[in-house]
């Protein structure tokens, strides 16, 4: 360690992602889809669409993103950096010009991706995703030693050691296109798996986290799903943006929301919610990206199919009011969509078809699926499920509470993480007041007074935090202010 102590270095503050994309000639080959009537698309087309999507996410969340492409030559068209909205169209144009040709220098490209994530003595820090459909046949600097096979030509650097120096925190995910049992028909699965095995062993030797995975995909939809593991939802037609609310309406909303906190029997859904992802255990399950698309106008957002693959088609049919078509698509998407996404959409479509029992059954299964997700993905998906549940039960109070928390967190997704965390923490504390309030309802005599004193002390504590947040976030913008107003009215209502 540089300072001569054994204390670990501080964690990297922003997410760092590098995509290593195969641009060899074989990427021009068509990739079949699960839907027979769907036209085949080239692998590169599917990959490009997914890259656009990943870029948009990086632009919205403020995470760092870099792109490495390879044929027999390795290039870095997008160096690791913050994706600014104003630069997005330029980068997208750049990616649309990428044209496959030549052979595949997979190992050299992975090394270049690792270099992009390298942070001096802290080793390689970040997430690396490799998308390839081939075998390495052009690397001239790096190699992977395969036991029982001839050693690589002399002078090649061992890729495993190079990618994983001490102190690293690297996640590597390989998405292999096509079946690689036969050379030139798909990814070299055996070698990729050997690479990952060696990296896992080295990670254990060095005491580093080992998060390396390999997934083979054989259809366009599956490739898309692997690259964009998503939960997509659309808003409801009667949604109104928070900033459109008159202060008295905001107060009315907050009062309604407080009712959901005060009456748990009538608003059982609230108990399923989690306000934030703080202090959650580590999970190796892949994150599920959550997108909520506005549809206040009833018009489907553009390029749904291109952006979300088969899920986009379901959403498009749903928004067009073709619920039976949407349901058919949902039922055919088993194995393609993440289970929670599919079950949620089944519930949503069934609810739109007024098949309440079927909708409730699907939603119940979706609730169960959320538990299997990594904790970081759970909070937002739980809220989307809670929103649908509240709609189904005509529970306006819960709906208001969930909507407000969800909207606020979503709007703050690109804001300073400290601001976001602070507000999420306040929402969490607000939710926790349910407990002390309930005790004031069931206690009597001396116990009632104790319960009332405890509840008041808890409210005062949260109110103190709210005041400090007001002072510290005075210039944090209208979203933060709106959230603080909402919490303040809720606190007043918790009496």
């Amino acid at each position: 360690m540089q300072d001569g102590t054994d204390s670990p270095p501080p964690p990297v503050s922003r997410e760092r992602n590098v995509l290593v994309l195969d641009l060899s000639k074989s990427m021009l080959a068509p990739l079949p889809d699960t839907e027979p009537q769907q036209p085949e698309r080239q692998k590169i087309e599917v990959a490009r669409t997914a890259v656009f999507r990943i870029l948009q996410d990086a632009g919205a969340t403020g995470s760092l993103f870099g792109l490495v492409t390879f044929t027999e030559t390795v290039r870095a068209p997008v160096p690791l950096g913050e994706i600014r909205k104003e630069n997005l169209s330029y980068i997208e144009n750049l990616i649309s010009l990428l044209h496959p040709s030549g052979r595949s220098a997979i190992w050299d490209a992975l090394a270049a991706g690792a270099d992009m994530l390298r942070m001096g003595p802290r080793g390689v820090q970040g997430n690396l995703v490799l998308v390839t459909d081939g075998w390495d046949n052009a690397s001239n600097r790096f190699a992977v030693n395969i036991p029982g096979q001839p050693p690589p030509p002399g002078g090649r650097v061992d890729l495993v050691t190079y990618m994983l120096p001490p102190q690293s925190a690297l996640t590597l995910r390989v998405i292999g296109i096509g079946n690689g049992m036969e050379r030139d028909k798909g990814v070299d699965g055996a070698r990729i798996q050997e690479l990952l095995n060696q990296m896992t062993r080295r990670a254990h030797e060095l005491g580093l986290p080992a998060a390396f995975s390999f997934q083979e995909v054989t259809t366009g939809s599956a490739l898309f799903v692997q690259m964009v593991n998503a939960f997509v939802d659309v808003g409801y037609e009667d949604d109104r943006p928070i900033e459109d609310l008159h202060p008295e309406e905001l107060a009315q909303h907050a009062a309604n929301a407080a009712r959901a906190l005060k009456e748990p029997q009538q608003h059982a859904t609230v108990s399923r919610l989690k306000a934030g992802a703080a202090s959650e255990p580590y999970s190796e399950a892949p994150d599920l990206e959550v997108d909520v698309l506005a549809s206040a106008t009833g018009v489907a957002p553009a390029n749904l199919k291109e952006r979300y693959g088969p899920l986009g088609e379901i959403v498009e049919a749903y928004l067009a009011g073709q619920f039976d078509v949407a349901l058919g698509l949902v039922q055919r998407s088993v194995g393609v969509l993440p289970p929670v996404t599919r079950l949620y959409w089944e519930a949503r479509v069934q609810f739109a078809r007024r098949a309440i029992v079927e909708a409730a059954r699907a939603l119940l299964q979706a609730w169960n699926e959320v538990d299997k997700l990594p904790p970081s993905s759970q909070a937002r998906i739980l809220r989307r499920l809670a929103l649908l549940q509240a709609r189904m039960q005509n529970d306006k109070e819960t709906e208001t509470l969930v909507r407000f928390i969800d909207d606020t967190e979503h709007r703050l997704s690109g804001a300073d993480p400290k601001i976001r965390d602070r507000l999420v923490d306040l929402f969490t504390k607000l939710m926790e007041l349910r407990g002390t309030y309930q005790l004031t309802r069931i206690a009597s005599g001396g116990d009632l007074q104790d319960a009332a004193v405890n509840h008041e002390a808890a409210v005062e504590q949260v109110f103190g935090q709210l005041q400090d947040a007001r002072l510290d976030l005075a210039s944090a913008g209208p979203v933060a202010e709106g959230a603080l107003d909402f919490i303040e009215v809720c606190l007043a209502e918790m009496r």
């Binding site: 103190g464 007001r470 007043a492 009496r495």
Partner: protein
């Protein structure tokens, strides 16, 4: 008997002293409440009461005959002093303030009804007696000071001079000050800073003159509650707006916190009690039938049936500076017949007709002096304990 009359600087009664200074021995009681909680009515009607000795109803009827040792301060001819602080030029970046004082002086009364009407007209002009509160003004606040005495003059210790203070027409200065403890001053010379004002929602988006006025008002209030010997908290039980309800609950919580940290006596007056239907039924019966003895249980009504809309909060405070039995009162200073007209009753207790020939009558006040007397009692108890 001393009487009260509205006057201003230009209409000052002959011989009236220009400045009414608080004597060193005066005890100060601060009255606090959100906009439209009844502060103005409380001050003006009490001032009228001291001069006119109007009847007060106590529900349930007081066993000791309804006498409370509260009197107008005849040694000081100014009964009520109102100083208006107003921004004169909203575009002035310096935010200059102009102050104007109005004095209500004790004066012999010739015609009780005439005098009452004169007072009522003053209030009606400002909308105080109307059913709906004034629109909030953001360019002025009024400091109100009322002087009176507590204790039987011929008693062992004699009567003590007292001063009741508030900031009126402030559109929420009081609520903000108590709600946000980050604004609280720690000395009578301290000032509320611009920086700490940011704890108030959207403060930065206000016009500079309003921000300045607000900060000055907060400072003035902070200073006088810092030196207060007791606080009376006025709570309105029937607020139509959710914003107002939230503001009142936050104020109440803040006041409880304030008196606890400073060990100050607190008395709560749930004003406009005529809006509490069940209570008002008892009031009506008491007005019509003077021998009627109400069995209305105020504590039970407020706490168990949440009559003031603050049941849990009051339960939590019981024993922590207040006793809900002795320190919480339902009051109504201006019982209305609707349409902004006070309910007037004749000498026999019959209601004066609202139409036809004007009939002599006096306005019904319900329990109004109880919180004041209780506050005085607690101040004197505290002083006696300290002295001992």
């Amino acid at each position: 008997m001393g009487e009260v009359k509205v006057t201003t600087k230009t209409r000052r009664a002959p011989g009236a002293r220009r400045e009414a200074k608080k004597g060193p021995e005066s005890a100060r009681i601060a009255v606090v409440g959100i906009p439209a909680s009844g502060k103005t009515t409380y001050f003006r009607f009490l001032a009228g009461h001291f001069g006119l000795n109007l009847p007060i109803l106590y529900i349930p009827a007081r066993t000791e005959g309804g006498q409370l040792p509260i009197f107008g301060d005849l040694e000081n001819d100014v009964a009520l002093e109102e100083t208006t602080y107003e921004t004169t030029d909203p575009t002035d970046p310096e935010g200059s303030l102009e102050t104007t004082s109005r004095f209500y002086v004790n004066r012999p009364m010739e015609d009780r009804k005439k005098l009452w009407v004169e007072l009522a007209a003053g209030r009606e002009e400002q909308g105080v007696l109307t059913k709906y509160p004034l629109p909030t003004k953001f360019n002025q606040f009024i400091e109100m000071k009322m002087r009176f005495r507590y204790g039987a003059p011929d008693g062992e210790a004699g009567s003590k001079p007292m001063e009741l203070q508030t900031i009126d027409e402030a559109g929420g200065i009081i609520a903000d000050y108590f709600t946000y403890d980050r604004l609280w001053l720690e000395s009578e010379a301290a000032e509320v800073t611009e920086k700490s004002c940011r704890v108030i929602p959207h403060y930065d988006s206000w016009r500079p003159d309003r921000r300045d006025l607000w900060r000055r008002g907060l400072t003035l209030l902070g200073r006088f509650v810092q030196s207060a010997d007791a606080i009376i908290l006025l709570l309105s039980p029937a607020l139509p707006s959710l914003h107002d309800q939230a503001q009142q609950v936050n104020l109440a919580r803040g006041v409880f916190r304030y008196v606890r940290t400073r060990n100050l006596p607190l008395v709560i007056a749930i004003s406009k009690a005529d809006k509490l239907k069940e209570f008002y039924t008892e009031v009506e019966q008491s007005v019509r039938e003077r021998t009627y003895r109400s069995s209305f249980d105020t504590t039970d009504y407020i706490l168990r049936r949440d009559g003031g809309g603050m049941g849990t909060i009051l339960v939590a405070q019981e024993g922590r500076g207040i006793s809900t039995k002795e320190d919480v009162f339902l009051i109504s200073s201006a019982v209305s017949t609707g349409g902004g007209h006070p309910l007037l009753v004749g000498d026999q207790g019959e209601e004066a007709p609202a139409v036809g020939v004007p009939t002599m009558g006096v306005p019904v006040m319900v329990n109004t002096t109880l919180p004041l007397a209780r506050a005085c009692e607690r101040v004197l108890e505290r002083r006696a304990t300290k002295g001992a």
